[in-house]
């Protein structure tokens, strides 16, 4: 389980969130319509999870653990160095080399149908 509702009422994303976590995350968001999302312990997230975050319009407590996620930009993610005590966003001069290795969360090729 990488998506949980913690005791303080926040929805937590933990570790590597796969495509299968998108629906449980969505269910939690719907069941807790004003709960914030805490992704400080999130290492990687499948695009399906990211698009749920985008649609959620919830306060996002970050920055996330994973380099790729930390570097994500867009209206929902915003600059993370604003407001609370998060480290400054990575300087953009150099390519974020770690991206390549961060993102091996590609699901294994799904098994073909067998019957």
């Amino acid at each position: 389980m990488t998506v949980v509702l913690n005791q303080s009422g926040a929805i937590q994303l933990i570790g590597a969130c796969s495509v299968d976590d998108a629906e449980p995350l969505l269910q939690l968001l719907l069941a807790n319509p004003i709960a914030p999302i805490d992704w400080r312990n999130c290492d990687t997230a499948h695009a399906a999870v990211i698009q749920v975050l985008l649609a959620a319009m919830r306060p996002l407590r970050g920055p996330p653990a994973g380099t790729l996620l930390k570097g994500l930009k867009g209206p929902a993610f915003g600059p993370f160095d604003r407001g609370n005590a998060s480290p400054a966003a990575p300087k953009m001069q150099q390519p974020i080399g770690a991206f390549g290795s961060e993102c091996r969360a590609v699901p294994e090729k799904a098994c073909l149908t067998r019957s």
């Binding site: 299968d20 294994e108 067998r114 019957s115």
Partner: protein, 355 residues
């Protein structure tokens, strides 16, 4: 020793299929180049199992299959193309009595035909031990002979959808032999059947839409494929999209069926186990009925045993009618089946349970 007859008009295909079985010590193989040669060989050699190419010149695969089933019934595995037209033909073949099918890889066939070897060998071996539905075939045969389509005989006059009487869900899992079994099950249910039926039939992605259309045309229930997501309604049956999984969820309070990318943890797709587990998150187990029908392997047995233990009713198809008594057999062995009934009585059992 399993006697196999390979029927294919392409010399290359015959050679490749022959090679696939060459390493299997328990097979002896014969070849036929066309339908009439196949019929002659079947009469003479009485093979245990036949593989039949759907597309052949002269007598095509379907015509040949029809004659095999009438003249010398024996287990047939169809070799078809993974196209929309291939899907229609294959579904027709399953209705005519073929036990199972494999799809030819698309593109450079000779390069990728190896992908086909493993499933073909498994399916042919299972088919060799398969049971033919003689009673069902007879009726079907008469229909076919008289040139009527089953759709014409069973004009689906749909009544108004029944109002949901208490929320509930029927979950059906099946694999080898599933398409004709589902046809029998769904056509025996009335349009007023109060619970939505969600079906995981192991199939490639290109087949499920055509399959749903076919079932929709002949049954009183409205049948559709779950392509993306759909609200589940009484009087309707839903076929999970092939090569993907189907999960049960809720949107705005209503139950929905949703296609989900195939989860690698499950070997077969759409996975019955995953479907049943997802339903358990949304509904009380007493609002669930699990049905496990003919199929190789054990998909669904574990999850259905689980909901059985929590109070759901489960039905396993009896060994006497199952083409392959794998999945239902596993459920029975796990002690997870409330009822073990032959195929033609499953519909009546369901009606009694939701009555």
């Amino acid at each position: 020793m399993i006697k196999l007859l390979v029927v294919d008009d392409s010399a290359l295909a015959r050679k490749l299929i022959g090679q696939m079985f060459a390493t299997e010590p328990d097979f002896s193989i014969q070849f036929a180049r066309n339908g009439s040669e196949a019929l002659g060989l079947i009469a003479l050699a009485r093979p245990d199992v036949v593989t039949l190419d759907v597309h052949m010149p002269e007598m095509d695969g379907l015509a040949c299959l029809d004659r095999i089933m009438v003249e010398h019934p024996c287990p047939v595995v169809m070799v078809s193309s993974a196209t929309a037209a291939g899907a229609e033909a294959t579904l027709e073949a399953l209705r005519l009595g073929a036990v199972d099918f494999v799809t030819k890889p698309t593109g450079a066939v000779s390069l990728r035909i190896a992908d086909m070897a493993q499933p073909l060998i498994e399916k042919v071996r299972a088919a060799a031990g398969a049971r033919l539905r003689s009673s069902l075939r007879l009726r079907e045969r008469v229909r076919h002979r008289t040139g009527q389509t089953s759709g014409a005989l069973r004009a689906p006059v749909r009544k108004a959808r029944p109002a949901a009487r208490g929320e509930g869900l029927v979950l059906v899992g099946t694999s080898t032999g599933g398409p004709p079994a589902l046809e029998m099950l769904l056509t025996a249910l009335p349009a007023t059947f109060p619970w939505p039926i969600v079906i995981a039939q192991h199939m490639p992605a290109t087949f499920t839409a055509a399959f749903a259309r076919r079932l929709d045309g002949i049954s009183q229930l409205a049948v559709q494929e779950i392509r993306t997501s759909v609200a589940l309604k009484p009087g309707c049956a839903y076929i999970g999209r092939g090569d993907a999984d189907v999960v049960i969820s809720r949107r705005a309070g209503d139950l929905v069926g949703m296609a989900a990318p195939a989860q690698s943890g499950y070997p077969w797709h759409p996975s019955t186990d995953r479907m049943v587990r997802s339903a358990l998150n949304q509904l009380d187990p007493r609002q669930l009925i699990g049905v496990l029908m003919t199929g190789m392997g054990n998909d669904g047995a574990e999850a259905m045993a689980l909901i059985h233990a929590q109070g759901a009713k489960t039905i396993a198809e009896a060994e006497e009618t199952a083409v392959v008594w794998g999945m239902p057999g596993e459920l029975v062995k796990a002690g997870g089946a409330d009822y073990v009934v032959p195929l033609h009585k499953i519909a009546a059992q369901l009606r009694k349970l939701v009555g």
